[in-house]
């Protein structure tokens, strides 16, 4: 049984109250957070008020949802009404959304308790959480290493068991890569599966919100709660929420697993753990075969063109006029906008705005942006072909183990290369789940399981079967 079902049962049997649970988690969270930097704000008063409502419902014998009373962390780029939402940026330092993202409404309806807003790379641009405008996040397995990014806070807080689950967002790997680095389960749903309404946009054709939890069952429960059609998001797919729990235990005998060779060029230590995991799948009756996705090497440059182009357009709204910070020393409005943006955006954000603006500017559009969109078509065709033969594809989440803080920050290209296993998935829009598949040097290694569009139920099933055969999800980091 996962933690969510266990707590649900304990609440109904009155082993403890939701308020007691919330207070216990808040106490632990505050101590742990001071070492790991996982939160940008902690919403203590609201959490206790919300928990009290759950306790009253239980006392009255009302039916409560599975997520009622469950402590959760929310990435700070997801709008929470009345709760400061900074997106990890100084430009939104005091910004308080006046509405909730659809995923937040859904979690509130289920009774989930927000303990705080998770630290992240500014505007979700980064793979190490070193681009947060506020503070670093540290990996709970080794505090001298990065937790991954951009949902570094969301993954580390689950890894350190400060909360039961969190929400992250994934544009090029921002849920899966930190989940892999922190030894937890994280799902990037199919594009359109989860509403983006209220997610502060980075690259709109790539962004998806998804759940992070310590085990696959908990991750699936949250996915079921947040997925489904939403009229507020015009790119939302017209499908009902998933019902993953019904099929999570299905036997995977005869499952056809493709292993794309282009994804196996990383660190030997990582690959050895992956190979053992693949052998385990064979033992479980799956058919494992090497396959190819021939255009893989073009995915990274295409990704950085498309993501930066969309970002340059999306981030035009931060101009000091309607919300966010403003430089008050300027006499003219255009100077006010230019100086506000220069002063309050961080280095990586400005760089991507510059790249995107350049790629979309007159004379360069065809050479960069249009070219990247064509490459995207070829990448999609690679996957369509592979999924004719295989039910799922399995790859590492990242080519390396979690790297040291400061190791890659000076060199953009090295940092970008770390995203090689994850960005293609966003370009082609398919779902992917990261789960721990072993440890080496005391650090977790993440495995990525990929499927056809809208195959999340199968991915949770495959991940859950694998997890049932090991104890990786039960290991606890000793934060020191």
């Amino acid at each position: 049984m996962g933690r969510i079902k266990e707590i649900h049962k304990q609440l109904l049997e009155k082993d403890f109250s939701a308020v007691e649970l919330t207070k216990e988690y808040l106490t632990k969270l505050k101590v742990s957070e001071s070492k790991l930097g996982t939160y940008l704000s902690i919403t203590e008063d609201k959490a206790i008020e919300d928990a009290l409502i759950i306790d009253k419902k239980i006392a009255r014998g009302e039916k409560i949802g599975l997520l009622a009373g469950i402590p959760m962390g929310i990435k700070d780029n997801i709008s929470t009404k009345g709760i400061t939402t900074t997106c990890g940026s100084k430009i939104l330092e005091n910004y308080q959304p006046v509405y909730n993202a659809t995923v937040i409404e859904k979690l509130y309806n289920e009774g989930g308790i927000i303990l705080g807003k998770c630290n992240m790379d500014e505007f979700a641009m980064g793979s190490s959480n070193e681009n947060s405008a506020y503070k670093l996040v540290r990996n709970p397995w080794d505090i001298n290493r990065v937790p991954g990014g951009s949902s570094g806070g969301s993954a580390a807080t689950v890894g350190a068991e400060e909360v039961i689950f969190s929400l992250g967002s994934d544009t090029g790997g921002s849920i899966r890569q930190p989940a892999g680095f922190c030894g937890v389960a994280g799902m990037k749903p199919t594009y359109g599966r989860v509403s983006r309404y209220g997610l502060i946009a980075y690259a709109s054709s790539l962004d998806q919100i998804g759940p992070i939890a310590k085990n696959v069952e908990d991750c699936a429960i949250v996915h079921d709660a947040i997925s489904g059609y939403d009229k507020m998001d015009s790119t939302s797919a017209n499908l009902p929420p998933t019902k993953t729990l019904d099929n999570i235990n299905r036997d995977i005998k005869g499952l056809r697993i493709g292993v794309p060779k282009e994804y196996f060029g990383g660190d030997e230590k990582v690959l050895n753990v992956l190979k053992k995991a693949l052998a385990k799948f064979e033992e479980m009756g799956a058919i494992v075969e090497e396959t190819t996705l021939p255009h893989t090497e073009y995915a990274l440059p295409a990704y950085y063109i498309i993501a930066s182009a969309e970002a340059s357009s999306n981030l035009a709204r931060f101009d000091g006029v309607r919300y966010g910070a403003r430089d008050f020393d300027q006499k003219y409005v255009t100077d006010m906008m230019s100086m506000t943006r220069d002063e309050f955006f961080g280095k990586e954000v400005k760089k991507r705005i510059m790249i995107g603006t350049y790629a979309l500017s007159a004379g360069y559009y065809d050479a960069y942006y249009l070219k990247a969109l064509k490459v995207r078509t070829l990448l999609k065709a690679d996957f369509d072909l592979a999924f004719k033969k295989y039910d799922v594809l399995i790859t590492p989440v990242a080519p390396t183990l979690p790297f040291k803080i400061g190791e890659n920050i000076k060199d953009s290209i090295t940092m970008y290369l770390g995203d090689i296993c994850t960005v293609t998935i966003n370009l082609v829009g398919i779902p992917g789940i990261a789960i721990p598949c072993g440890f080496t040097d005391g650090l977790p290694v993440g495995m990525q399981i990929l499927g056809k569009p809208f195959s999340e139920e199968l991915l949770f099933n495959v991940a859950h079967r694998f997890e049932s055969n090991n104890d990786f999800h039960l290991r606890k980091p000793e934060v020191k």
Partner: protein, 94 residues
């Protein structure tokens, strides 16, 4: 293609980024590095390939033209850096 200091200033102007001299020099180098990395795509023949703007087969999502409640004016202005009555206030335009 290589980016010059003049290009950096032009792009910064389009993007409304008031870069200082130090930043302009740094971005010139960094943008060139990143664009070199992107040149890789030119090795690939994409003649006749249709672009994919969007992975989902969804086009022109419309709703019926019915007036619905939207945000309250006070809410809309709640985060404004400066306001005058029910308006956002900004410095001179001309």
């Amino acid at each position: 293609m290589s980016i010059t200091n003049k290009d950096v200033l032009h792009v910064a102007g389009l993007a409304r980024l008031g870069l200082n001299d130090e930043e302009t020099i740094a971005y010139e180098k960094e943008l060139n590095d990143v664009l070199d990395f992107m040149e890789k795509l030119n090795k690939l023949d994409t003649e006749g390939v249709e672009p994919t703007n969007h992975v989902l087969d969804i086009h022109n999502v419309f709703r019926t033209d019915i007036i619905e409640a939207s945000l309250d004016v006070e809410d809309v202005l709640a985060n404004a850096p400066d306001r005058d009555d029910d308006y956002f206030k900004v410095p001179s335009i001309l």
